[in-house]
Point group: C2
Chain length 340, copies 2
DNA sequence: ATTAGCACTCGTATTCGATGAGTGCTAACA
DNA sequence: TGTTAGCACTCATCGAATACGAGTGCTAAT
């Protein structure tokens, strides 16, 4: 168990290092006016904290830097909600005041504000499309051999894909088919769609349309492709302003990672509801081993998603957590009242 | 007018500098076995070429580097088609062999291969949606107050947007309205849609539906939003491997530019058909003043778009032009035969 | 007209010493 | 026994001095 004094010192070191990016020395700590003990005492305590694994040195005679364990402890025990300026609060709330109809647009705006306020990078994981339910099914023929299939979900998302019509397909069958499909598939979630098409719709359709087999298989191709939700980024280049990214190799690794939506998706998906923090190696990825990811999920009813902020491990956790919590509540709120 | 010897020297300098990124000295040039004259002679010629503005020095006693004017001359007069390895040719053609139904998918694949083969960054400008024509108009109600409007264009693109329904709107009017709109708007290009809605559709609708005014205005909001085509990137991080981007500031500027689709759109849009090259300051943008952009437009019938490659001014023009030409023809071909 | 020879320039890499922030330890102190 | 002043020591950073070498421009010889 850490003594009160050790807690104080750890807190100062993290806070100082977060804002200065420079190793923190004993003299610097003693300057804080609520610190009553001498640099020598602080040095002793720091040596202990280092032995316990909360601090590190960059070289033999440098100041101290929080270790991952140090950040973890700070985040778990020392975090205290920050007071935000009225200006910033109103900036956040301005998004929710505007009457935005489309959920997607609302969330994107939030992500932009989030990176602006934090100066970190925001990753926005779109709502899991697979959970949405079919509201309407539509097929629009384009030519003799191709048509576009459209699926509207219950909350307004539209999925569409061009597919080829089988030879000898009778265009007049389309309407019949669409009716049957709408009848059968209403309310089915997109993730179930694939199977429902094969198991239920196919047999019914076969009775009415003789090329049904081929069409359904084309449609099944359509439904199989869209496994992942969309990923949206804001403030991607903010990371370049962080001193820890003065190294081009790190920049490259980071940017390459950010280009792979599927990897980003799995790295940034929240494991639980609420706000979570993953520090450094906890992220399990080389490209962001010196980064922390803070995720927040939000939602109301069917419409939910998550926002993540990524910055260096030396990130302003207090501020980010406070802002994200505000954002999370606001978004959930806005989404649930949207259709009243 | 340049002498034959000057042409030879300019060619060697560009070629060498392109592959080595180091200023080229007289000795190095004389080593080429088809160069028959001595370093001293070469130095004299280089001094002349510098006076003419085709070459530059990085400092008083360094080798020569092509100037923008030098590249321009090289590109205009010295470019000769490269012979590509059978391996690479087949890699390109593999895309077109696969039977891909959706034009967008096909083009994206091409862009990926393009950046792989060139090690530069590919920017893909989607077909100009505004030119497409309405094939089908559809409205799907989501709740009492909202609905999603869907526009399918003649080549299978789907535009959609959620909009609010006016109070007191009678849901049963939707079908009537959709019918009228489909009737009136079939074949209208998206860029005209906005006005047609206001000028033609509105008056007709008013006769049948008393809330038509409000609905049309909601719809007009939908049609006004989608001014720009989509932009797709491949190999964004390739630029980081170029030695000219070892400077973090340049990286930042470049990445920031690439995040702004609308700016990228206007910078990379080809002015003419065929292959064009814009060198350095010809691009008129600070962030890419040391870059060259090679654009190629392709298309068949209604479906056309353009691909651009961006790299440092010290880029392998011969190779890129050869590859892009192959790609351009392939794409145009594939698109025109797609629906046969 | 071409080229060998040579003095000169300038970027790069290396070494060396000075500086200063910061530590750990010891001994004095309350 | 916990705290602190004092001091020797470490190590990153910076600037000056130096050597090195690739490359040029000029002159004079071919």
């Amino acid at each position: 168990m850490l003594t009160n004094r050790q807690l104080q010192i750890l807190q100062v070191i993290v806070d100082d290092f977060v804002s200065s990016a420079q190793p923190v020395g004993s003299r610097q700590i003693s300057k804080k006016d609520w610190i009553t003990f001498s640099p020598a005492t602080i040095r002793n305590e720091m040596a202990d904290l280092e032995e316990l694994g909360f601090l590190e040195k960059t070289h033999t005679s440098s100041g101290r830097v929080p270790s991952e364990k140090g950040y973890r402890f700070y985040v778990d025990h020392l975090l205290q909600p920050q007071i935000m300026s009225a200006d910033e609060v109103s900036q956040i709330q301005s998004v929710f005041k505007r009457q935005i109809v489309e959920a997607e647009q609302l969330i994107k705006e939030s992500a932009n504000i989030l990176s602006e306020l934090t100066t970190y990078t925001t990753v926005l994981l779109g709502p899991d499309v697979q959970r949405h339910k079919v509201k309407r099914f539509q097929i629009v023929p384009l030519s003799e051999e191709s048509a576009v299939a459209i699926i509207v979900t219950d909350n307004g998302h539209v999925e569409n894909r061009v597919f080829t019509l089988p030879e000898g397909f009778n265009p007049s069958d389309i309407e019949k088919m669409v009716n049957i499909l709408n009848d059968r598939l209403l309310g089915v979630s997109l993730q179930d769609l694939h199977f429902k098409l094969e198991l239920e719709a196919l047999s019914v359709l076969k009775q009415h349309i003789h090329t049904a087999d081929a069409v359904i298989h084309s449609l099944m191709q359509v439904t199989s492709g869209q496994k992942e939700g969309k990923v949206y980024y804001a403030g991607k280049t903010n990371m370049l302003n962080q001193p820890e990214f003065h190294d081009l190799n790190k920049v490259r690794l980071f940017m390459e990672l950010m280009d792979k939506d599927s990897q980003v998706q799995s790295l940034f998906k929240p494991i639980d509801t609420g706000i979570q923090i993953r520090i450094g190696s906890e992220n399990n990825h080389l490209a962001i081993e010196n980064c922390s990811v803070i995720t927040a999920s939000f939602g109301a009813g069917d419409e939910h998603g998550s926002i993540a902020i990524i910055g260096p491990t030396r990130m302003d956790y207090q501020r980010v957590v406070t802002i994200m919590d505000l954002m999370r509540r606001g978004l959930s709120n806005a989404l649930s009242h949207r259709n009243d």
